[in-house]
Symmetry: C2
Subunit: 478 residues, 2 copies
Amino acid sequence: MNDAVTHETLIGQLQATLGTTAVLTGAADTDGYTEDWRGRYHGEALCVVLPSSTEQVSAVVKLCAAAGVPILPQGGNTSLCGGSVPANDGRAPVIINLARMRHIRQVDAANGSMVVEAGCILKTVQDTAADVGRLYPVSLGAEGSCQIGGTLSTNAGGTSVLRYGNTRENVLGLEVVLADGTVWDGLRALRKDNTGIDLKHLFIGAEGTLGIITAAALKLHPLPTHHSLAWFAPRDPAAALQILGMFQSACGSRLSAFEIMNRHQLDLVLANVPNRRNPLAGEHTWHVLVELGDTRDADVLEAVLTETLGVAIEQGLVEDAVIAANETQRADLWEVRHSVSEANKKAAVGLTTDCAVPVSSVPEFIAAATRAVHDIVPGLDIAIVGHMGDGNVHFIPMFSFDAWEALSDSASMGDAMRACVNDVAARLSGTFSAEHGVGQTGLPLMARYKSTAELALMRTVKAALDPQQLLNPGRLIP
Amino acid sequence: MNDAVTHETLIGQLQATLGTTAVLTGAADTDGYTEDWRGRYHGEALCVVLPSSTEQVSAVVKLCAAAGVPILPQGGNTSLCGGSVPANDGRAPVIINLARMRHIRQVDAANGSMVVEAGCILKTVQDTAADVGRLYPVSLGAEGSCQIGGTLSTNAGGTSVLRYGNTRENVLGLEVVLADGTVWDGLRALRKDNTGIDLKHLFIGAEGTLGIITAAALKLHPLPTHHSLAWFAPRDPAAALQILGMFQSACGSRLSAFEIMNRHQLDLVLANVPNRRNPLAGEHTWHVLVELGDTRDADVLEAVLTETLGVAIEQGLVEDAVIAANETQRADLWEVRHSVSEANKKAAVGLTTDCAVPVSSVPEFIAAATRAVHDIVPGLDIAIVGHMGDGNVHFIPMFSFDAWEALSDSASMGDAMRACVNDVAARLSGTFSAEHGVGQTGLPLMARYKSTAELALMRTVKAALDPQQLLNPGRLIP
């Protein structure tokens, strides 16, 4: 904070620039922006501003830069790791919430692209694409409330990464307000452009530390119109890996999901969420949901599923399998998968992790992480659910509510459990955050797992693009 | 050059570090590295070094940095725009040629990844992937001699971008020697990793100005085993665009090529390359090669081709079409497409351009660029050949050798022709370099077409990562 500019002066300048209704100051108005949706993180903000245009974002950044006040760009506030609210460390930022920038500027079906502002809800983007027979493939639990700007700043993952890649792979261009208020117009909707450093990738996944994304040119795909889904019980994770390879060879990019869960995870869903049925008769230790999608030939999809699973059964890799006979059954099986969060929240205290390892190392990761957890608490329940096709496994040690209460130091137990799982991932050349990002939770892990050279390189980039350290200071890079 | 270290001293240090046979100094030895393969660009080098390991690259960079001598990283020297040889501007660099770093460090079919050193030939990488039933999809004319490091540093395009994206989209991780000699090991072969700034994208396409790529973790795909190909004559480019949309909706990611050429381009091939036959009876103004690929069901592919072209014929969009009946016919039709460069070189002086525009703007680009060229020379022949599915059109004004010789100032004519074509692309939100990169040819175009904000941002990144301006100084950013 420069001495010359008091907080009151800055707020007055912001009100003069945006209008008073676009600058929120009282706790009653700002609470929804300063606390995350699960109520786990809360930090103070100087105020919340709601700009309606790129020019207004630029003006706000210039005022904050002149005043030396930090800035926190914010989307739908759906972060799972405290990334979208201020830290509780005493230096209150101006929150720039992008919700009012929600215009869809252009849809070009023939080019497979659309240009949208940062505040557009992900679901709106998906629906707008579908209206012209195209697919914007990024899909995740929060899609009804998260904003495109947030998904870009965190390089959101979700359920379609196996087929379409992360958010990063679905961006053609960006418009960004830089730390000094300059607007960089990089909204080119080109499939090929080799003219210099590819600047857009600096801002995607940078969690608002290098600039504020105000709009994006997104990549659209042909819309798959036919799907076929199976639920099967592989003998073990190694068998699941082998079957994944069989599906990849047999059907290439038709493979759109390959999700694994263990029996304990399935049991938690069946016990805690109404109207969920066990997809298979009998009891099995491992479960996989596999889905194929295509623009045509539903009968071919089902034939491939049947044929590939048949071979796997013959080879003793699969204990049992069922193919969804219609759209209702397909939706029901997806519901089992999508009920995991709700079930775990009701059932127990789950120490969620978000590791990814090379796909070929998933069986080893599961085995080694299980041993590591049981070395700390023998026999502890573990829920395992993951996007196996991406090597992304949510490995979740579970304590009953009573057992958790009875711990003398539950915080240390939580840290120890997560550390032992993340250590296994690191040993297998994996990562502690596959899709959730760094936020507040992951900051100490960056220090623990990143090399000196890598952190130094990130700090060099940060210092170059934000020399005053005003954009989300203290975040992302420890 | 620091006063304290003479060129002789530096060469002595390099010889002591790498061995004398890995440091080339005489013109007889260095000519193959200081001149491009077409003999159009030549510049002096202090010497050429041939390191065999990442550690040796690091040592060379440290010595050059200490001496203040510029560095030019070099791959297979197949650039089309002078990007791989020194400029003739008086400041001779040390060329670091990566040819001896050609180990394939790892192939992991189950993870869909391989780790290769920068000097590996692209064709070797493709073949190694195919040996384990996987595809490394980047494919281009120079694949028998270009090196992976060069394809990464230029984000190479080629014929499979429509289906698999550019080189950038097929990289999981990098190992890079930075400007101070630090080795950044970012060789993670993960499909998902959201832990900080994505540093690899800084180096891909940066043409060696930010660091020296020494190894990469590449993404592999299921290997398509069946193909079906058609050659057809669309009514005009607008009809071709419409048919492209029909194919995308009908067969999604099976569509692997959609290449357009005009009649003049086809005539040049037929007249100048032996054993090339006109795919269609009769004469047509526009031609398209369309190919589908899949991991199964060749008969389905042919059925989709037949059906989609049938609809297009009914709608009056297609004048004539032929489907390759077997692999020999398919190869013959690809040969016609691949003979373009040879034909044009023999036939006339072609002023090659490499624009991309939004796919939906390709018809307008062709029409407006034709008008612009004919405003300068009425009725001039123009060869048009392009990756229409990517919006990438090589629009080539052609002068007969006699007409070119007769020009009073052919250099100015060349500049005026290219400028008028590139201006049209810029007006349509396109680019002057879709796949060839910037090199020496494109440097003035960067100044002409890039915004002040974009160039400033690139300069900021360059200054941060290479404060001494030793890595390919003067390149990429004007």
